[in-house]
Symmetry: C2
Subunit: 766 residues, 2 copies
């Protein structure tokens, strides 16, 4: 969505001056069942809706809701953001100074994804929801947050890839389950801490590609890719993690704008995934109803557009189309009374589940205040998240630096990110309590002198002399630069520019220890990998409020790096081999598609899952691991699944946990991310190169010591997807691979008949 | 070039604190011949250069020159801009307030081009050079101005098309000759008023197309298109108009970066066009030497790159590559002593021609001051330029508005340009003395009440309610919006967005008189042309400091519109039919190229040269016009050319002036632009649809009256270009066409043998 201030006719006074909650004690609704906490959520919501006129209902379906002044229901802004901390957005009101003028700003999801540490994600999300509740208690935010962005980052050009944890579906699913638990206050809690919203449903991963805007893009996706890839994170959100809300996207999917599509909103989301809790509502992306009409030209009139969306199962409209046009649509008989009633019932059910109509004493989060915001502990967690996510990509032994004692060491800092502050937050950020750039972090370290050489111009040489002279005068050269995607458009290039390569190679000729900090999104590192004058490369991404400290801590060896790339680093020319609008993941000789993601593409500059350490690790399968069987019968695997515990067969455990022994063969203590992939020639061709099925981050493995990772597989880990999108177990030879590059392999066999473990719903004829 | 502040090692104190001119009375150079005004320009410059060390010479070749402190020669910034008024740029220093805090800001060239009034252009350029001299006298600018941008605007996507007068070569040539005369103070004046610089030489007309940057683009151009189209304005600049300086471009041409290409810099520019005045120097675009190395990878080393540029004939380097690397190149023996000496001689010859070493009393412009800047007269000229350039594209009779007397009329102003201020200036602008938006202009008019409805969101409906409600409450609706190209990239689309079309059509359903002001660059007007609820469309472009007043004056009929489109308005899908990087102008069935410009493409939404009036004009050939002959012998035409008067055969007059009678058949007095095109099936196929050969703006033709336009043709008007790029007279049937659409035709015949009238130099084998 576009972040913009919302001003509409129906917007009443600003949030700060309006009442925060309806007055259920003395207000007009005090005798309405909505104020009775002993009634069921749905009964309460239905009683509320029964008290409304249709005009009032229509007004309640917009993201800037006027409430119902007649009934003492205050205005409410549904649009709040919290991608990596409470974030600036229409519903969030940071104070100009003092209390509530800032909130913890964690690294971007792409960096937190690189940590491969679900417990970290849960801890971060818990801080975010705590701070969100504190802001809400101060009447400075709503309780519905339109986060996470969980579309898989399948193309390196995508402008919003930074908002996601990466390209892999298993990783995304594991990450988002931990995140939602932290945001919503556990699985099916008594009160929702906040409402999380998985977005953008579905097959949304482009912004503006050469003039084709997300508003007008019609994604052509096969059932196989849809079920296997694009839908996977949403399945976890809706079916397994209990997310309260889902946002439909701007794009069309196979011809229909998603917010108007009963196949994905009803057949898949509600029927197949049983996403039917009272609080489960769908919101549009911001003005995706306007775009369905004005860009996609889906319906002939604005009235028909809003009616189709409402009937398809879209309860809330970010924007004004519902508020402006539902009335005329109803007059024209384009939808039923029950359609609008049900939508408002769902929306208010969500508020009821947040304790919106309940007393402060009964809602456990109502006592949170600014003392719970941006605490020292949350600051330490933000630093830890950055340290865990930074990835070491090249090291000729220069890192970690050992500085001489007895004299200061001079660092030159050069590049557009050398003194980056807000850039380190990435998009969908709030106001951070502080922002430590790499330069600023270094300036705080005893024994280090710094020279700031400026950004180093590009494409002009404006500033090159400053950069060169700074490097010439220093002992150590840090070049921090990169490229950011953003929401205004997708990236046209994924290579370092000719100007930056020229500047860096010129400076590198000085022969100083030179460390490149590759910031922002991935750029093809080839020219720096192959340049012997460049000592080390680290990918820092968007490391958040204390990112500079995290980078310096790793550079100086206070922290050992253990992050892994959560995306493929493609060669610069990759984007010339596949169209941005080609949604197919599998390689295709006819179209020239070389394949997408590590699963289908194997010519990466640096592969998914790669990351160096300050020590050497050996990973091997534990001799006693995985039980004794090396062959499994499919029917036995399925029939032994305990349906009472596991509602879905793909979630049933497969055999025992796989145990991987990880030994640190060097002398630097370090975390290690144990990654387990599956591969084999089974199921439909083409066969993927491999698929991540489990990961576990081990902490602080001391030199000469070892730890064991316990990696849980499920039947879903073994499944592949047929051309209808069904998840299927196939007989065949399977291999488990540990680490990137692979350090050890474990083989087993599945026997018997191929068996569908998830029947994918098929779209009806259109 | 990129506008950015320049900070380099060699930059001394800011201009304001440095001396403005060398002290030829008492300074170290007082006895050097450079200070002797009786010596020739070249002798003076050579004497100066003879006093320099090589290191000093190298330092003088950068755009931010340190001067020669040892000799009392002050630092000098060569990079000054004045595209449509003295403009913010490294060498121009606007004061924060008071005197010299502003300068007249004329409309962008694309708007002034639409006036088709060369006298206007000369008057504007005279004001600009006067204001530039005043700024220089106050030590607030240099005397070398890197204007005009005279690349033909051949593709509607080009981000910098607004900087040019349009797409047609005859128009560009006529315009730029008038402009250079005004900037430089006449043809071959005693002192140059300022140095004008025709840029970007050559075949430069893209910025960043889908990741292909101008720094790395290699334009593939045929000799035919090169000579006939891309070179034409530069031929006028260098050969005919006496421009002092030329800027080579970023792009390569047929494999060689232009700043390193002896074919275009020596064979064409100096040898074929006799561009050999002492002051004639070539500057690079900003850091095009870096881009030749770092992006084009033309040479193996930086030293070889600068040596090749110097030898090719590039005297000045915007950037630092010459300053940083000429020394090492010289040490390596990559160029001769005479190469660097000649470059500095030319640069200082230009300064000598500006009176840089002469006494204030001898230079006529040295007494200009702030009293000569932004005068009432120049303000009136800026308003007139806008009024003359605005083009009426649709009118159902609503315009001019006749407002009721006795009560006020309420205007709603909606759209992103409704209250545009700096946007009206376009790029390469300075600080204007005032900026009157359409809204602000209306607010100053008695009898008009205004409601500002905001921009009207796009792509979100954010703000649509405000826009709609404003329109609903008004008598008249003005929607002012559009799209701007810019230097950061070329336009991806040339159509109105789905959101804007939706908003406008929704508001138009109110049935109010509704006027669309299409601002910025051309957008396909089709949806507004075909919508009967939209009363009128005017193209306002970038109308400058008083653009809102100009628009309101036309809307209210105080001024009658007579501008003509200086570019084709293409259908939105045109850009999908031809690649941005395809330099070919002629249609090509194999490549799918539908042809470029009105000369080769005939499916325009609105054609080049189109423009409505508030009255009806009839244009016809005067019976006595064009002499009596309707057949001409080619050899006779050529042999009768007076070589003493006309150095080049293509400039020789053809027959007598063509006389066109223009009668105003209505009752509103109005200007009328008489346009004359030539067409016929002669010369090489394919044949162009037509070619502009003359124009004349007639002023204030009263209702019921007529005026006569005298249109001068030359032998060049009849020429076509063969596949070697030679200009040739061919026997055949010719037709002259008046007006767009054509109102009258005059036919004549050329007989005899085809004859080359300009032998185009061929590139040597590479």
């Amino acid at each position: 969505m576009v972040r913009a201030s919302v001003t509409t006719q129906v917007l009443l006074a600003g949030a700060a001056s309006a009442a925060l909650f309806p007055d259920c004690q003395n207000g007009p609704l005090s005798n309405n069942t909505v104020c009775d906490p002993t009634a069921s959520v749905t009964e309460r919501a239905q009683a509320f809706v029964a008290a409304l006129t249709n005009e009032e209902k229509f007004n309640l379906t917009g993201s800037t809701s006027p409430g119902v002044p007649r009934l003492g229901v205050p205005s409410y802004i549904w649009w709040n953001e919290a991608l990596h901390g409470v974030a600036s957005s229409p519903g969030v009101d940071f104070a100009d100074e003092g209390d509530y003028s800032y909130a913890t700003s964690f690294p971007q999801p792409i960096v937190m994804g690189a940590a491969f540490d679900d417990a970290l994600i849960n801890a971060v999300a818990t801080v975010v929801s705590t701070e969100a509740r504190a802001f809400n208690n101060a009447n400075r935010s709503g309780l519905d947050f339109w986060t996470p962005n969980i579309n898989p980052y399948k193309d390196p050009r995508w402008g919003r890839g930074q908002e996601t944890p990466g390209e892999d579906t298993y990783h995304l699913r594991s990450y988002v389950a931990a995140l939602i638990d932290g945001l919503q206050g556990g699985k099916n809690p008594e009160y929702l801490k906040v409402v999380a919203t998985c977005k953008h449903f579905v097959a949304y991963d482009m912004e503006n590609w050469h003039g084709v805007q997300r508003y007008e893009f019609d994604a052509q996706v096969t059932p196989q890719d849809l079920s296997e890839y694009y839908m996977q994170p949403f399945q976890t959100c809706a079916r397994d993690a209990g997310v309260a809300s889902i946002m439909c996207s701007y794009n069309a999917l196979n011809g229909l704008p998603t917010c108007l599509d009963p196949y994905i909103l009803q057949d898949v989301l509600r029927d197949h995934w049983n996403w039917t809790a009272p609080e489960n509502y769908v919101t549009t992306d911001c003005d995706s109803l306007q775009s369905a009409f004005g860009y996609q030209h889906y319906a002939d009139t604005r009235a028909q557009t809003v009616a189709d969306a409402l009937i398809a199962g879209t309860e809330l409209n970010c924007g004004t189309y519902y508020q402006r046009h539902l009335g005329e649509a109803f007059t024209q008989g384009l939808f039923e009374q029950s359609d609008i009633d049900q939508a408002v019932v769902k929306l208010y059910s969500a508020l009821i589940r947040l304790g919106y109509f309940d007393s402060a004493s009964s809602v456990p989060y109502r006592s949170l205040g600014f003392g719970d915001v941006a605490t020292p502990e949350s600051g330490a967690l933000a630093l830890k998240a950055a340290e865990e996510g930074i990835v070491l990509l090249k090291n000729d032994g220069t890192l970690p630096l050992s500085l001489p004692s007895g004299r200061n060491t001079t660092f030159a800092f050069i590049g557009n990110w050398a003194n980056a502050t807000e850039e380190m937050q990435g998009n969908y950020a709030g106001v951070a309590p502080y922002l430590n750039s790499p330069l600023q972090a270094a300036q705080k370290i005893a024994g280090i002198d710094t020279i700031y050489g400026g950004g180093g111009g590009d494409p002009t040489t404006d500033g090159w002399d400053d950069a060169y002279d700074a490097a010439a005068a220093a002992d150590i050269v840090i070049y921090a630069d990169g490229a950011s995607g953003d929401e205004s458009g997708d990236r046209n290039t994924i290579h370092w520019t000719g100007g930056k390569i020229d500047l860096v190679s010129w400076i590198a000729e000085l022969g100083k220890p030179m460390i490149v900090l590759s910031m922002g999104d991935q750029l093809d590192s080839s020219p720096f990998l192959s340049n012997p004058n460049i000592s080390a490369i680290m990918w820092g991404g968007y490391p958040g409020q204390d990112g500079g400290t995290a980078l310096m801590n790793i550079i100086l060896g206070k922290v050992a790096p253990a992050g892994r790339l959560p995306v493929t680093q493609y060669p610069g020319n990759y984007i010339n081999e596949i169209g941005m609008l080609d949604m197919n993941l599998r390689p295709n000789e006819t179209s020239g598609n070389p394949g997408r993601t590590y699963k289908w593409y194997d010519n990466a500059t640096i592969p998914f899952g790669y990351g160096l350490h300050y020590t050497n690790f050996t990973a091997s399968f534990t001799a006693s691991g995985n039980g004794s069987a090396s062959s499994y019968d499919i029917s036995e695997l399925v029939s032994s699944c305990d349906n009472a515990t596991y509602s879905y067969v793909d979630l049933c455990p497969f055999a025992d946990a796989v145990q991987v022994d990880v030994s640190n063969d060097g002398d630097v203590a370090s975390d290690f991310v144990t990654m387990l992939f599956i591969t084999g020639q089974y199921g439909p061709q083409p066969y993927p190169l491999k698929q991540l099925v489990a990961y576990q981050r081990l902490f602080n493995v001391a030199g000469g010591q070892s730890q064991t990772a316990n990696l849980n597989l499920t039947l879903g880990s073994l499944a592949r997807y047929d051309d209808m999108g069904n998840a299927v177990l196939y007989p065949g030879e399977y291999s488990l691979l540990v680490d990137v590059p692979t350090q050890a392999t474990y083989n087993f066999t599945l026997t018997g008949q191929e068996t569908v473990i998830d029947h994918w719903p098929q779209p009806k004829n259109r």
